[in-house]
Amino acid sequence: MNVIECKDLEKLYFRKRVLNNLSFSIEENKITGLIGRNGAGKTTLLKIIAGYIKETNGDINVFSERPFNSLNVSVNSIFVDDHMSFPPALQLGEILEEAGRFYPNWNAKLAKRLFDYFRFDEKGYHNRLSKGKTSTFNMIIGLASRCPLTIFDEPTTGMDEAVRKDFYRALLKDYIAYPRTIIISSHHVNEIEDLLEDVLLIHDGKKLLHLPIGELKEWAIAIKGDSETVVKFIEGKEVLYKNEVGVNTMYVVVKQDSPGSLKEKAHLAGVEVVSVPSSDLFVYLTTDAKGGIDDVFKNN
């Protein structure tokens, strides 16, 4: 069953096309990573899915309904980001209570335990929390609500590394115990990639890639070695990134036609094969300059 169906989605903000003919679908119970540069349209997309903002054109269906103003979508989904706001008059403990009243799957025990583990004060107030603590608290609400569609938009803003690790682990454990559809948008791609099943890469409001993460990691490979040899080796292949290191060494990232096909040949040709970190791959796919920022500083 497809939890989210999106067809030719378009969103205009004051004549700027933030989402442009975006089409994809998300299957149930998968953890999908939503990746893209700043301004690619990720948050806009997620807000449309959550029903906060309206699409300008195109079709968007969540649980087979249009999300804007749908109570059924609202009760089955939750959108967690660092702008999640609560009435300032409510104490943290009271906010948890209210969440329990609204969300039918709410697990008070999990919420309380996470709450205590991260050392929150029941009588504290949401607007007095630090950035990291805010994200942590919002994350607790997101997890304990056990909504069939749980969306995290940059959920780790301000969290230190230890808390981030705890978050990923808590997310995974609760997902295994109570499967649900999860979408995570994060800049810490390398940290979350092991949690993901699928990746949806958005660029300039369009879908660039939507693949299982396993396929994505084998999509491209980096070749390093003596410049001449490398150049000969990459003839006819699609180059994603090129950089000259030192006098005679070159580092190139090329697309693999099929997984592992280049590794064998590379060994024989005498060039080194290096893995491409996902975060780098996403950058290469979403930049125009093949040499990266170094192009700005090239003299010719």
Binding site: K30, I31, Y168, R169, L172, K173, I176, N190, D194, L195, L196, E197, P212, I213, G214, K217, E218, I221, K263, H267, L268, G270, V273, V274, S275, P277
Partner: protein, 145 residues
Amino acid sequence: MNYYILHYNSNALYQKGARAILNTNSTKPIYVQIAEWIESEILNNHFQANQKVYSQYQLAEMYTINPATAAKGLNLLVDENILFKKRGLGMFVTDEAKEIILNKRKNQTLKRLVQELVLEAKRLQMNKQELIEMIQEANDEEVGP
């Protein structure tokens, strides 16, 4: 009952740093590393023939990875006849598993290592005699003359 015990074990493994076993920088995808780890466990007899191995969920918890990735690793082993699936019960070690793994490692992994060794020696302009002597030395040290 069984699940409960293994669940405890997976938590213990996580705390001991099973995470350190996975190499995120390797060109080998995570699911391949998982498969190879299970192969090693079979080779050193942690799993016997017809014994149940970890489920995708246990592996996911042990390594903090997505269960689908763990499943991909398990399926890889099923395709190679190292594991077989019992409907509703999980993944089990085949009778021929150990043999298959040994052969695979000899013919593929070890062979590839040898190829790399030869290539590197060539790059360093070492001749065949020197290379063989080096191998002999190493063998004597590790295994004995």
